[in-house]
């Protein structure tokens, strides 16, 4: 398969993730969207590493996966705390910074 196929796949996953981030009302759904966007990037990195025979892309991907895990852990923890405090995780209701 050519490189373009991987890139199209990555773009599709990224846009699906962005769509989820923009449209989901549930905070957990938004986090899932973010995961998709990050993994789309990972697909890009891995594909480029493979086709250019450059290990740097794989190393980047490893780092990204590790950071993503940490981000999910922190993000979910925040969501749980918000739920305890506000009794909701609807993103539309979390507008304390409204002007």
């Amino acid at each position: 398969m050519p490189l373009a196929a991987y890139l199209v796949l990555a773009a599709l996953v990224f846009v699906i993730g962005l769509f989820g981030v923009l449209t989901r009302r549930n905070a957990v759904g938004i986090l899932l969207g973010i995961e998709l966007m990050l993994n789309a990037v990972n697909i890009n990195l891995v594909a480029f590493a493979r086709f250019r025979a450059d290990l740097a892309g794989l190393v980047f991907t490893l780092f990204t996966i590790a950071i993503t895990v940490a981000e999910v852990a922190v993000g979910l923890a925040i969501v749980i705390v918000i739920f305890r405090v506000r009794r909701t995780i609807e993103a539309d209701h979390l507008d304390l910074l409204r002007g």
Partner: protein, 612 residues
Amino acid sequence: MRLGSPELALLVLALPFVSFLVLALIRPLRRSGRPAALVSILAMAGALGAAAALTWQAIPVARDVNPSVLWSWLPADGGPMASVGVWVDGMAMQMCVLVTLISLLVQIYSSSYLADEPPASLGRYYAYHSLFAFSMLGLVLSPGFLQMFVFWELVGLCSYLLIGYWYDRPSAARAAVKAFWITKLGDLGFVAGIVMLWAATGTFDFWPLFQAAQAGTLQVDGLATIMFLIYLGAVGKSAQFPLHIWLPDAMEGPTPVSALIHAATMVTAGVYMVARAYPLFALVPSVLMLIAWVGAFTALLAATMACVERDIKRVLAYSTVSQLGYMMAANGAGAPGAAFQHLTTHGVFKALLFLGAGIVIHHFHTNDVFRMGGLFRQRPWVGGAFLVATLALAGVWPLPGFFSKEAVLGAVLDAHLSVPFLMLIATSFLTAFYMFRVVFLTFFGHAHAEHHEHPAPPIAMDAVCRALAVLTLALGLRAALTGHHAEGPAWLPWISLAWAGAGIVLAWTVYQARAVDPARLSAALAPIDILARRRYFLDAIFAGAYRFLLLGLSQVIGWVDRYVVDGVLNALSAGALRAGDTLRRLQTGRAQDYVYGVALGVLLLLVWAQLG
């Protein structure tokens, strides 16, 4: 021309200034009252001594010797912009003697007259007095217009302070402010004139200006306008029509202050300035003509008002205005010497009149001449002194007023100013009439029953009056004995004597013999009488102009400020508020909306990158 030593002139100047500084800076001394008076009087006596020595040691020099000593002032590129110094010629020295003498006598007199004042006020009074004498001496000794203007304004300030000495009296405070502002009106012209003259010639100093003027090399465009503006300063200061209205109100100050202002300091400054700058005025005959006409008109107008005034001090005030008119008329007629002669003699006997009036007011506890009477029998010395001064003012031989008035009249006649001459002759009749009206009502006639026995006036007041009376007599006798004759036709003295005599006789008939009822006299002269009693509505006109012009203007400005300036500002701030309120709504606080913003931004960047 006579030349004095500049060091002595500076000493004359320094003594009152040091006295002022000492009184102003050392608070306990000022608030102690009598010691403060003593300091001021001693300094003034020293200044009088220095002024006398100055005159004594003066040496005659040729006409083309510069009488001024200058130090540079206001450094600028290409030489100093102005200089300060002293100008010690005969006129300045004579004036120094007059100013220091009158100031000294008035200060001595004041120490008794104001003995009941609280010590702190008395100290303040003497501090002002010292500053006043210093300012006037500085003005007299000025070698240039700029220095003269500085002292000119100081004199104005001091007269304001002294007229408003009893500042807790509303009428005195108002009179002080009125005097200040009316003279400021003229000073505006003065300052504009000297700046224009400087712009045209590049110097404020008298000497180069006079030299150029006399050599005919002074080429200045619009010199007539400049000199007219400078003359305006004298109109305000020397109470010429129509700015004379402040002087009668200035009677709100203590009587010795009136004596000082009318005799030696303040009002003589304008006459002195015109006489000093005469070489420049001589170049513009049109302005001289105006000065003569305004002077003569002022003399006549003020004399008519003096005839109907009941307040003894106001009668004297109007007589000062009238005599200032004489002096200005002489200036305008091209005889600054005659003007200056009248200034000095008038200074002596007007001081005497005011100080005598102070004793009279002390005696009767009123200013109203119709409630006085019969004082001569009780106080023959005061009466005699007052009578001497009155005769001098009326211009009776052999008193000094006769000679100086004759010089003025001769000069005006010489200049072929026949209408002003007739006005001045009529004024001399009125002068004799109103002064003897005061004398007959105050010193003769029957004493009013309500008066109980009063203690004699304090020795200082009495002595000062006697000294001035002797001085007046001496001046007159000296003029008579030295055979001093003004130019002019031989009939002139007889005419002026005859008119003065007629005035005295009329006053005697009406107020002493009571052959004619004063009410019938005023009824016969009804229109003039009413106009004079209302002061020719000049005060009302000024007040009306003030109300109409100034208040109208301020209403317009107020409207503009309230609705245009404030309106623009209010619109701006309201717009900012509304804009902020609208923009505030962009901040929804929802994370997703911000992500939308970011996504949209990235999209736009991509599109822009593609298009570029």
